[in-house]
C-alpha cells in the first residue's frame, strides 16, 4: 500500500470515528440517564395506566436519546458492534425497568411456576393428577434441575430477570432469520428494534411459553437458513435435523400450544415447497401425538370436551380474546384499546412491507407464509382468552422484519434527505412510548411488595398442609410453597355461580367446610379487582365488612399491604 493510500485510509478512519462518536456518546448517556432515573420511580403512586403514570421525565428522555442515537448510528453506517450495543441497551431498558424497580418477582404466575418446580424437586416425578402443568412438565423439570444444582434463590433470581434474559436470547435467532431474507444491515437491526418494542405481550416471564418461543425461533431459523428449497445436497442436514427434532421434542414436553405453532409453520413451508425437510411435519406430528396419547393422557381424558369445544368457533374466539378483555377500570380499558391498536398497526405496517417487497419482486414467499401461519390457531382454541396474544407473538418475528422493510423503503424515498433520520426517530419513539404503555399497563397489579410476600409466607405458617387457602382474586404471590399440598379458592371463582349479595357468606361457608383454612387479602388483589373488574362492584368492600363486622372472623396477621383472617375459634 502506498504512503498516500495509508494516509488516506487513516484520515477516513478518523472521520468515521468522529461520525460515530455521537451515537456512541448517546448510547452511554441514555443508559446512564435511564439507570439514574428509574431509581426515583414510586410504584405505589401508579394509576390504572401502569408504569407510564410514574415514569420520571428523565426516563422518557433516556428512551428518546437511545432511539435517536440508534437512528443516527444506522444513518452513518455504524458497524454491527455498535448497533448490537444499541439493541442490547434497548432490551435492558425496555425489559429491565420492571426488574430494577420492583421489590420482588412480578406476576402471580411466576410464583406458581416456582411452586411447580419445587414440587417436582420434592416429589421426584411428575404426578399428572395434580394439574395441567404436570402433564407438560418439561420446562419445570428444567427449573427443578437448576434448583437442585444451584438452589431456589438462583431460580428466583432468574425469574426476576427472565424478561431481559429471554429477549436477549430471542435476538440471536431473530438475526439469523432476518439475515436469511435480507443482506441489508439497516433492515436486520431495525427488525431487532421493532421486535423488542412491539413485544408488549408479556409472555417472556419465567414460563414454558417464554422458553418454547425461543425454540420456535431457533427451529424456524435453522429450517429457513439450511433447509430452503435448494438445500437438498447439504452435508450437515441429518445432524441439524436431529438437533431440530430434539429442540422440538423438548418443546412438546414443555408447552401445550407452541408445538402446534411450529408444526403449522413447518407444514405450510413444506406444502408450499419452500422447505426441503419434507418428512419433518410427519415426525413432529408423531411426537405431538405420542405426548398426547401417553404422558398427557390423564389430563386430556378429563378435559377433552373443554379443549375441543371452541374448535372452529370464530365468535367464541373473538369474544374471549377481544370482547372479554376490553373491560375493567377506565385506565385499564384505555391500555387494552391501545394494545389492540398497537397490534393492528404492527400487522398493518407488516402488510405494507410485504406489499412493497412484492411490488419490487423481492418478497420471499416463506416470509409471507410465516407471518400468517399462526392465525389458524385463533379458531383452534380460545386458550383462556389469550390466543390472540399468542398469535401476535408467533407472528411478531416475521411481522417485525416486514415492518423494518417498510420503514427502510419509506425512508429511502423520503425527501428531503435531511429529514430521514428525524422521521425515523419520531416513528420509533412513538413505538417505544406505545410499548411502555402496553407492556406495563397492568403493573399496578403485577408488582408485589415484600410485605405481601411476607404475608403469604405467614399464611403457609398459619394453615397446615391439606388446608384451604382463600383469597379475593388469584393475583398474589402464592403457590410457590408446598404447591400440591394445599387447596386454593378465590372469590372470583365463587362469583361465577354465587349472586353478589351472597358472596361473602359463600366464602365463609367454604372455609367452614374445612378443618383448616385462612383468607388473605392483599394490595395487589385489590388492584387486580379494580383494574380488571373481575369481581362484582363493591364485592371486596362487602367481604371486608363481613370479615370485620360478622364477629365470626379473627384477624390473624396484618401489615400495611395485606391481612390474614381465620374463622373465630380456629387455632
Amino acid at each position: 500500500m502506498s504512503a498516500a493510500a495509508i494516509v488516506d485510509s487513516r484520515a477516513r478512519t478518523v472521520v468515521e470515528r468522529g461520525s460515530l462518536a455521537a451515537p456512541g456518546l448517546l448510547l452511554a448517556a441514555s443508559v446512564l440517564l435511564w439507570y439514574a432515573s428509574v431509581g426515583s420511580i414510586e410504584l405505589r403512586a401508579m394509576d390504572d395506566t401502569g408504569l407510564v403514570s410514574v415514569l420520571p421525565p428523565a426516563t422518557w428522555v433516556a428512551f428518546v436519546l437511545l432511539t435517536a442515537g440508534f437512528c443516527v448510528a444506522l444513518a452513518r453506517g455504524a458497524g454491527s458492534a455498535l448497533l448490537l450495543s444499541y439493541v442490547v441497551a434497548l432490551a435492558l431498558m425496555a425489559f429491565g425497568t420492571a426488574s430494577v424497580v420492583g421489590e420482588t418477582l412480578r406476576g402471580a404466575v411466576v410464583w406458581r411456576h416456582l411452586g411447580v418446580a419445587d414440587a417436582l424437586v420434592r416429589l421426584g416425578r411428575p404426578d399428572s393428577s395434580i394439574d395441567a402443568y404436570f402433564n407438560w412438565p418439561g420446562f419445570f423439570m428444567l427449573l427443578a434441575l437448576v434448583q437442585a444444582v444451584a438452589g431456589a434463590d438462583i431460580v428466583a433470581l432468574t425469574g426476576r430477570w427472565a424478561p431481559l434474559l429471554f429477549n436477549l436470547l430471542y435476538l440471536a435467532p431473530l438475526v439469523l432469520i432476518a439475515r436469511t431474507f435480507t443482506a441489508d444491515r439497516v433492515v436486520v437491526w431495525l427488525t431487532c428494534w421493532v421486535f423488542l418494542v412491539a413485544n408488549w405481550v408479556n409472555q417472556d416471564y419465567l414460563s414454558p411459553q417464554a422458553l418454547a418461543f425461543l425454540s420456535y425461533l431457533v427451529v424456524l431459523a435453522v429450517l429457513l437458513r439450511w433447509f430452503g428449497p435448494g438445500e437438498e445436497a447439504s452435508g450437515r442436514r441429518p445432524g441439524l435435523l436431529l438437533a431440530v427434532v430434539a429442540i422440538f421434542a423438548g418443546t412438546v414436553a414443555s408447552h401445550q400450544l407452541t408445538p402446534f405453532a411450529i408444526l403449522g409453520a413447518v407444514s405450510l413451508l413444506v406444502l408450499a415447497r419452500r422447505c426441503s425437510a419434507r418428512g419433518l411435519p410427519l415426525v413432529m406430528g408423531l411426537i405431538v401425538a405420542f405426548w398426547l396419547v401417553y404422558p398427557a393422557a390423564p389430563y386430556l381424558n378429563g378435559h377433552l370436551d373443554h379443549l375441543t369445544s371452541g374448535i372452529g368457533s370464530v365468535s367464541s374466539a373473538v369474544g374471549k380474546n377481544v370482547g372479554e378483555r376490553v373491560q375493567g377500570s377506565p385506565g385499564h380499558v384505555l391500555v387494552v384499546r391501545v394494545r389492540l391498536l398497537f397490534s393492528l398497526v404492527v400487522w398493518a405496517l407488516a402488510a405494507v412491507g410485504a406489499l412493497g417487497l412484492w411490488r419490487r419482486r423481492a418478497l420471499d414467499l416463506r416470509l409471507a407464509l410465516l407471518a400468517v401461519a399462526p392465525f389458524p390457531l385463533l379458531v383452534l382454541q380460545p386458550y383462556g382468552g389469550e390466543m390472540l396474544l399468542r398469535v401476535y407473538l408467533f407472528t411478531l418475528p416475521f411481522a417485525s422484519l416486514l415492518v423494518a422493510s417498510a420503514l427502510a423503503s419509506a425512508l429511502a424515498a423520503w425527501r428531503p434527505r435531511a429529514l430521514r433520520t428525524p422521521v425515523l426517530v419520531g416513528v420509533l419513539s412513538v413505538m417505544v412510548a406505545g410499548f411502555l404503555l402496553t407492556r406495563y399497563g397492568n403493573e399496578r397489579m403485577d408488582q408485589f411488595t415484600l410485605l405481601e410476600v411476607a404475608t403469604v409466607d405467614r399464611l403457609y405458617d398459619i394453615v397446615p398442609p391439606g388446608g384451604l387457602l382463600v383469597a379475593a382474586t388469584g393475583n398474589l404471590p402464592w403457590k410457590a410453597r408446598d404447591y400440591e399440598r394445599y387447596d386454593y379458592l378465590t372469590a372470583v371463582h365463587l362469583a361465577q355461580t354465587v349472586p353478589p349479595p351472597e358472596l361473602a357468606r359463600a366464602v365463609e361457608d367454604a372455609m367452614r367446610r374445612r378443618p383448616a383454612s385462612a383468607l388473605v387479602l392483599t394490595r395487589s388483589q385489590q388492584a387486580s379487582a379494580e383494574l380488571m373488574g373481575t369481581l362484582p362492584p363493591n364485592a371486596l368492600e362487602d367481604l371486608r365488612r363481613h370479615l370485620g363486622g360478622s364477629g365470626r372472623f379473627r384477624l390473624a396477621y396484618a401489615n400495611a399491604d395485606a391481612s390474614i383472617y381465620v374463622l373465630d375459634g380456629a387455632p
Partner: protein
Amino acid sequence: MRLVLAVALVAVAPGWAIVRHLPLDDPLARVVLSVTVGVAVATGVAGFLMYAGWWSPGRAATVLVLVTLGAATAKGHGLRW
C-alpha cells in the same frame, strides 16, 4: 459461582459439546444451537429420570456431565452423519 455452574451445566455445556460436531460456519448459529440443544438435552435428562422414577439431583448432574464429556471427546469433528 452456583449460577455459573447451573448455566454451564444446563444451558451451554451439553449443547456446545454436541453442536461442535455440526459443520456450522456461522458463529451466531453455533451459539444459538448450543443453548437450545443444551436446554433440550437437560430437559430430556431430567424428564427421563423423573418418568423412570430415578430422579435425584446428583444423578441428573452426573448424567449431564457424562453426556457433555461423551460428546466433547467423541471423534468425528465436522461429522457429516
